[in-house]
């Protein structure tokens, strides 16, 4: 019989602990010791009649009834001890190298002792009675049977750590120090227990020299147990793939990126020095990494490479190695290739899930690029995992062919700094760059939508990285009972020494607040459905983060920029603080719940005197008109296509379709941040001349409304509004509109297209019944997101690149493409 490996808080010799619990059964109350085969002494006297009785961990009446343990025997068995000064054992890392040899002296002593013991009557008596075998059997029973049952007989522990960020003191090292992972003489890592698993939570590199060695080690571990090791992408990992997209422009000092790099380099050089003379590999990569929030990454990589190669390395060599490491066959790419957006469901079980950024109501509503909505959260998890695998395979093909990496992988993997509006914009549907884990001064628990989605499929725990905490995991339990566990201890000034384990539906965390020599061990065990103070918020605004070894509660409170106020209280003190499940206050912008969104849309439609329809109802107003999705967005301002071209295109559309056209607005017909009109608005200015009311003779227009946030910015009053399935994603209305248009003999026209539309264009690849036109200026590639799609090898047959001044031909082409295909 095999059970998961067990482990224990790592204790210093100097630490005096109040004896904790001997536990081999999952507690009914999760707030005592770690549930493991760590057996420590307890203040209960040995009890022969009930040899498996044990104590409460010194916590008096809160003690649950437990059924299995080793008893503790004090030097005076008749008088149970009440306090102890005995030192706990310091768990040393196994010795290595020459220390592993048994010296002749030690061997001589060993053999002498064996001879002596063979003659010892007590040993002989023990041997006759089988005492050692009995005791070992008892120990095995406790560990195998009772712990196995307690953990649902699930095979091995799943260890999680993440956000190493290249630091040498990190949670992955903790697994090595604790003997969970072992290294052979060739330096290859493997699990000590062959049933154990490991999930890396993302963000491998950037802030220390160990990025390269960590990638090597994790790949080594993955090789030893491919099915039991998984990596989740962090933004610091996946975002680096974009370096290959930008380096050509930096090298050639061309384009906007080249200009910015040139300016940066000029600022670094002494007067009179030319940029061209200093346009080195080192400077290119340094600039690129600086502009991607990793200013020291190249220097750290240089140091790591020196350690690996055992010789000196300059910044240019380090830069070349760094870039190559991100190509297929290179360490970082191969590491990334093994990852995905989500932990594989087979490692996380039915009850747990893990993402780098975390689940939010936006990103659980759809799988990017999929034209259909996921049926539940399980489908989201597996869909995200599969999506990542698909996209990284495509990225590998791109890189092998010397092409830029596709936009969706990168835009889902990192945020983009939008200088014009001064915000760091991330795709709301990204599971990697979640921006809302910290809000209004605290770590957020699950939003109600996420908690309900988790409950629907029986999930109780989500692990997340990305959002720095202190040096120990932070847990937040929602009013619905789902737990969100923050694991990113990268900002801890003391480094991190935490260990996080999933064992069946149980979650165990052990960490240390403070330095290795002087820190305090804090731990928790969370089991779904068990009521405890864990993860709740006290009346003075602290979160209950765990227990200390002396049985007190450890509380923490978000202060500022991931700095925490922390304190320890007794169980009695905690009662007075009345911990309750709570969500942090939501910001004003996010107080618009779905109900409020619906009400706002209704009000706006009432104001506009426009009906709200579903797509099926559209047929009532469509009549014989041809539905045409027109969707465009932000790339206009940066594209050489002129306003005149767009005007000409629009006039062509109007002339071609006249009153037989029904335009569906993809939902992005809003003013741009700079106050410019989007291409879509220019097109519609022509289709809907100023002053012309929407009457029966006018081309009918429908807006597929994306979200209430845009309602006040919509500049073209629609005849009707279609609300797409409650989704708040901009791309979903476009996808649904495109599908509708195609199924009614219409088409989709994408002009430019920013990030919001990119997914709709991607999704349109699978809508083979819908002709899709990517609009380009004369002699130009299509704009924006359309451009990226057009550069894909092998555009689908239903995709067409069309130039703006050819648009008058669009009507006949739509008819030609679709008449025979559409039922």
């Amino acid at each position: 019989m095999k059970v998961p490996p067990q482990s224990l808080p790592f204790l210093n010799k100097s630490e005096r602990i109040k004896p904790s619990v001997i536990r081999t059964q999952v507690p009914s109350e999760p707030f005592t010791a770690t549930d493991s085969s760590v057996l420590t002494s307890s203040p209960v006297a040995k009890n022969d009649s009930a040899p498996l009785a044990l104590d409460s961990g010194g916590r008096g009446t809160q003690a649950p009834e437990l059924s299995a343990s080793l008893p503790v025997k004090t030097p005076e068995p008749s008088e149970p001890a009440t306090s102890y000064s005995a030192q706990p054992i310091f768990l040393e890392t196994p010795t290595s190298g020459s220390e592993t040899e048994t010296s002749p002296r030690v061997n001589f002593e060993l053999q002498g002792l064996i001879g002596s013991f063979l003659e010892n009557p007590e040993v002989k008596d023990s041997s006759r009675q089988g005492t050692a075998g009995r005791n070992l059997g008892k120990l095995m029973d406790i560990l195998s049977n009772q712990l196995g049952e307690a953990t649902g007989n699930q095979s091995g522990n799943v260890y999680l750590s993440g956000d190493t960020e290249g630091r040498e003191l990190n949670d992955f090292n903790t697994l090595k120090e604790q003997g969970v992972l072992v290294k052979d003489s060739d330096g290859n890592l493997s699990f000590r227990d062959q049933n154990a698993s490991f999930v890396f939570m993302g963000d491998l590199m950037d802030r220390g020299p160990a990025g390269l060695s960590l990638a090597d080690e994790m790949l080594s571990l993955k090789k030893s147990a491919p099915e039991r090791v998984a990596f989740i992408w962090g933004n610091r990992d996946l975002g680096k793939l974009a370096i290959h997209n930008d380096l050509p422009d930096l090298r050639a000092l061309r384009g906007a990126a080249g200009e910015r790099y040139s300016d940066w380099l000029k600022g670094k050089l002494p007067e009179g020095q030319s940029v061209e003379d200093h346009n080195t590999d080192g400077n290119q990569v340094q600039y690129w990494l600086e502009s991607h929030s990793a200013p020291k990454a190249l220097e750290f990589h240089r140091q790591g490479l020196e350690q690996k190669l055992g010789r000196s390395v300059d910044s240019n060599e380090a830069a070349r190695h760094y870039v190559e490491a991100w190509l297929p066959g290179g360490t970082f790419f191969e590491f990334t290739k093994q990852g995905s957006f989500a932990a594989p469901p087979e490692l996380m079980g039915d009850t747990h899930m893990a993402f780098h950024g975390g689940a939010a109501r936006e990103n659980i509503s759809a799988i990017p690029g999929e034209a259909t909505l996921p049926k539940d959260l399980d489908a989201v998890v597996s869909g995200q995992y599969d999506l990542g695998k698909r996209l990284i395979a495509e990225a590998e093909e791109d890189l092998k062919a010397g092409r830029p990496v596709k936009s969706m992988l990168l835009s889902l993997g990192d945020s983009n700094w939008m200088a014009s509006v001064g915000i760091n914009a991330a795709r709301a549907e990204s599971f990697i760059y979640s921006q809302r884990n910290v809000e209004d001064g605290n770590y957020r628990g699950h939003e109600p939508e996420v908690a309900r989605a988790m409950q629907q499929v029986g999930k109780s725990v989500e692990f997340v990285g990305h959002t720095p905490i202190g040096s120990i995991p932070e847990i937040r339990v929602s009013p619905e009972g789902t737990a969100k566990i923050y694991t990113d201890s990268s900002m801890s000034s003391d480094g991190s020494q935490a260990m996080m384990v999933r064992k069946g539906d149980l979650t165990i965390s052990v960490g240390r607040v403070g330095t290795k020599d002087e820190g305090q061990v804090v731990f928790f065990a969370h089991k779904p459905g068990v009521d405890s103070p864990l993860g709740k918020i006290t009346s003075d605004g602290y979160a209950v983060t765990g227990l200390t070894l002396d049985g007190n509660y450890f509380l923490s409170k978000y202060a500022e920029r991931h700095k925490l106020s922390q304190k320890t209280v007794t169980a009695e003190e905690l009662k007075t603080l009345q911990p309750k499940p709570q969500r942090p206050e939501e910001s004003t912008a996010r107080l618009k719940t779905h109900q409020q969104v619906s009400a706002a849309i209704e009000n706006k439609m009432s104001e506009w005197n426009s009906p709200i329809l579903d797509f099926e109802s559209l047929d009532q107003i469509r009549g014989s008109r041809t539905p045409l999705l027109v969707s465009a967005a932000s790339s206009y301002g940066r594209h050489p296509a002129t306003q005149d071209q767009l005007l000409a295109m629009s006039q062509s559309l109007q002339k071609t379709f006249g009153a037989d056209l029904m335009v569906i607005d993809g939902g992005t017909s809003v003013k741009s941040n700079e106050g410019e009109k989007s291409p879509e608005m220019i097109v519609q200015d022509v289709l809907f001349p100023k002053g012309q009311e929407y009457g029966s003779d006018s081309p009918r227009r429908v807006a597929a409304m994306p979200s209430v946030a845009n309602l006040d910015d919509v500049t073209h009053r629609p005849d009707a509004v279609v609300v797409c399935g409650g989704a708040s994603e901009w791309h979903l209305p476009a996808i649904e509109s495109s599908r509708y248009a195609g199924s009614r003999g219409g088409a989709s026209v994408f002009i430019g297209g920013g990030g919001a539309i990119a997914k709709a264009i991607e999704a349109a690849r699978s809508l083979t019944e819908t002709p899709v036109f990517l609009v380009a200026g004369r002699g130009e590639e299509p704009m924006g997101a359309s451009d990226k799609v057009s550069r894909e090898s092998g555009l689908p047959a239903h995709f067409h690149v069309i130039h703006a001044d050819e648009l008058h031909e669009l009507g006949p082409r739509i008819q030609a493409v679709t008449k025979s295909d559409v039922p």
Partner: protein, 117 residues
């Protein structure tokens, strides 16, 4: 108990002595075990023909046991199994590795009413 086991080398010698006194073989399925005694690591490798107990780590061992030598002494000699105050016992790995030792050291009938003779 008159026999005091205080040092790691004593604990390992005791294990070896008990195994030599046993009429049972460990069997072919026996696997190595690491023993961590505070500042010393030992390992027991049943595949070794010379001394099965050696000082040093064995990363191949599927089970590591952390305890004090004195606990090992009680484990191997005393009918009552208990932890002394402040003591800690930690196992990492697969407890089934203990099975051959249990058999060889007479633990098969651990639940029978009378000890074997």
């Amino acid at each position: 108990m008159s026999l005091e086991i205080q040092r790691p080398v004593e604990a390992m010698a005791l294990l070896e002595a008990l195994l030599r006194q046993s009429s049972e073989d460990l069997g072919s399925e026996a696997r190595p075990i690491e023993f961590h005694f505070e500042d010393e690591v030992w390992n027991f490798d049943p595949g070794r023909t010379e001394s099965r107990c050696q000082r040093g780590a064995n990363p191949e061992a599927p089970l590591a046991l952390h305890c004090k030598p004195s606990f090992m002494g009680r484990l191997l000699l005393q009918p009552e199994l208990y932890l002394a105050p402040g003591e800690e016992l930690k196992l990492i790995g697969d407890p089934s590795v203990l099975a051959p030792l249990v058999r060889a050291l007479g633990g098969e009938d651990a639940h029978s009413p009378s000890p074997r003779s």
